[in-house]
């Protein structure tokens, strides 16, 4: 009996789903890969994110895995910034400061470019309320450009895209040999996984093109860090990190808190006009997609050996 190439369905078209689909295609060119999702850019969770590379809120995931996946993602992003198509792809280098209320020694310091602790002079000049700060260079992604770029890569290699809502993964297994579940918060219902919980993020996007640095501040209180991230066309101000909160509406009090926190860091923001959205993170996507590829490779091997 001739072995047939397995058919693969990637469920979800956010940054995790799309990068998985693309990497699977690259590694298994003879497989049929279908992307199935109910929402596509600009309506995915990824689209709301700031698009800033930094391992953040990754729960109890094993540190080695986080380091591996995030390093792979950052290296890939940096290489994309050197492409003549960097703007179409939606990636750019960005440098700036992260301030804290106490000294830090994060694992990711070895992964970013030019990580260093700020001098006392800089601390005094820039954010006297903070006790510690670091300066480094990383990459920001314009998700609204990046996702369409990934999809066009996927389609160019004959990937099929289906817009549809799925209520039971089991139904898909009738049609496909392998299903890659990249449904994010949707997995709470779909995979019946109560360990998947929302961490609510809110951001505001403003027009402030004179801001070329990012600035983040993790204060000593319970609230999520404040951040200012210079995107391609807008500056993202954030944020919140409300565990277990499913509210997808803009909260005015959160808006005010974000605004006040960011104004403290950069007073010239006072003059801008704003319009808002809600968000999450893209730091791990490429590395995770690489992991997915490995898992599929293993799955295919075990499928083949069963024949």
């Amino acid at each position: 009996m001739a072995a047939r190439e397995p058919s693969i369905c990637v469920l979800g078209a956010g940054v995790i789903g799309l990068s998985s689909a693309v990497r699977i295609q690259d590694e298994f060119p003879r497989c049929d890969v279908t992307l199935l999702a109910d929402r596509f850019s600009p309506d995915t969770t990824s689209d709301g994110s700031g698009g800033f590379w930094l391992p953040h809120l990754v729960g109890g995931t094993n540190q080695d895995s986080i380091s591996k996946w995030s390093a792979s993602t950052l290296d890939y992003m940096i290489s994309l910034t050197k492409s003549p198509l960097a703007n179409q792809i939606g990636v750019h280098l960005v440098s700036g400061y992260s301030f804290f209320s106490e000294p830090q020694c994060p694992e990711w310091r070895k992964l970013v470019l030019g990580y260093r602790e700020v001098t006392d002079k800089e601390l005094k000049l820039l954010l006297p309320n903070a006790k510690f700060g670091v300066f480094y260079t990383t990459v920001m992604i314009n998700v609204k450009a990046y996702l369409p770029w990934l999809i066009s890569r996927f389609k160019q290699k004959n990937g099929k895209v289906i817009q549809s809502r799925v209520d039971k993964i089991e139904d898909l297994l009738q049609k496909y040999d392998i299903v890659v579940n990249c449904t994010g918060i949707g997995a709470n219902k779909l995979a019946n996984d109560s360990d998947v919980i929302p961490i609510r993020g809110q951001v505001t996007r403003v027009k402030a093109p004179w801001i070329k640095h990012f600035m983040t501040y993790e204060g000593s209180d319970e609230h999520c860090e404040k951040y200012i991230l210079p995107g391609t066309d807008t500056v993202v101000l954030g944020g919140t990190g409300q565990r277990g909160d499913w509210n997808t509406q803009i909260d005015d009090r959160d808006q005010l808190m974000i605004w006040d926190g960011c104004l403290e860091m950069i007073p010239s923001l006072k003059v801008v006009h704003n319009y808002g959205h809600g968000g999450a993170g893209v730091t791990l996507h490429w590395g995770c997609a690489g992991q997915v590829v490995e898992e599929i490779r293993a799955a295919i091997k075990s499928t083949v050996s069963r024949l």
Binding site: S83, H92, G114, P209, K212, P267, S268
Partner: protein
């Protein structure tokens, strides 16, 4: 009441005028110029705050004061609510070289520089063997000049648009002149030491570029508030202001080899202008004879490529010289009555 005339409305003239107003609030100050805002040489400058000793033409001791005073001023504006209106913002990036270089002069005055490691150089564009990370600011005259002018006028400063052929046209009307005419001093004050150094820049729409790059000191990419400035050229003694496309193509090619995505950036405008270079910046008092009397002229010109960078510090210095002149003249008048 002292009558002061500032000649020139570029960054040197406006900075001098505003500083004079600040220490002599009673004085009557008039700016006389034939070029304003986008007509000025200052407007073409990218405005990157950076000085290399090998290129500068100022006395180091004075340069330290000018640089320090200027940076303090720009930093104050940069961290205020006025930052974007005044056209001053922070920048970060890399200066790359083929061989080891002495540290940048401005590094002791701005937010700090850091020598790059070999592994960083490998990750950065090009094949450069040496370099440093820059943390500085950009002063964009497109907004900065009108911002200074507004402050000047709000405090009662007067402005006359006029092209002067000779100092005698106005020498009778003022007690002190402040000469900030850049290359105009060749004719107006017969300065034979001034040499134009022609420069070309291209401004492109590339809002994804947040990082500045300088390579071999003559190729640069400066992310401005509204566009990205690409450059440049340094053509000593050249004066023609026609826009030769060959120079722009060459600039674009050099910048694209550093940052390939610039290839797809829309060109907003090209510029050509003349840096007013002199073997030494002229910031001093000269007594000239007019109408049988003596008229003090405080010169503040010939800044070469450093004009925007040290403009505020030079303005402070020039204003102090003006005040000194008025005090001395006043006491001389008293003495001669005895």
């Amino acid at each position: 009441m002292a009558r002061i005339c500032v000649l020139g409305a570029g960054v040197a003239g406006l900075s001098s005028a505003v500083n004079i107003q600040s220490i002599l609030p009673e004085a009557d100050i008039t700016i006389i110029a034939d070029q304003f805002n986008t007509e000025s040489t200052s407007d073409g400058a990218a405005g990157n705050f950076g000085i290399l000793l090998g290129r500068t033409n100022a006395d180091i001791c004075r340069l330290r004061c000018w640089t320090r005073d200027s940076f303090e001023w720009y930093h104050k504006i940069c961290t205020s609510e006025d930052a974007n209106i005044a056209g001053i913002h922070r920048t970060h990036g890399y200066q790359l070289w083929r061989t080891e270089q002495p540290p940048p002069f401005h590094g002791s005055f701005d937010y700090g520089y850091r020598i790059l490691s070999k592994s960083e150089l490998l990750k950065l564009p090009g094949n450069y063997k040496y370099g440093w990370e820059l943390n500085t600011l950009m002063v964009e005259c497109r907004r900065y000049l009108p911002w200074l002018m507004k402050r000047f006028k709000e405090k009662g400063g007067k402005v006359i648009r006029k092209q002067l052929k000779n100092i005698v046209e106005i020498s009778g009307s003022y007690d002190v002149l402040v000469n900030c005419t850049g290359l105009g001093s060749r004719k107006l004050f017969d300065d034979k030491e001034l040499v134009p150094i022609r420069g070309h820049t291209i401004r492109v729409k590339a809002p994804w570029i947040k990082t500045l790059f300088i390579a071999d000191s003559d190729t640069y990419i400066y992310p401005g508030q509204d566009n990205v400035v690409l450059g440049g050229t340094r053509q000593r003694g050249e004066e023609k202001l026609d826009k030769d496309q060959r120079y722009y193509d060459d600039i674009m090619a050099r910048c694209c080899s550093l940052v390939p995505s610039l290839k797809n950036a829309e060109v907003e405008k090209t510029w050509v202008g003349l840096r007013p270079w002199r073997p030494c910046v002229r910031l001093e008092v000269e007594m000239i004879s007019v109408d049988g009397g003596r008229l003090p002229v405080v010169h503040n010109y010939g800044h070469g490529s450093d004009g925007v960078c040290i403009s505020w510090g030079c303005g402070v210095d020039a204003a102090n010289l003006v005040k000194q002149q008025l005090t001395e003249t006043g006491s001389q008048r008293l003495v001669s009555k005895l």
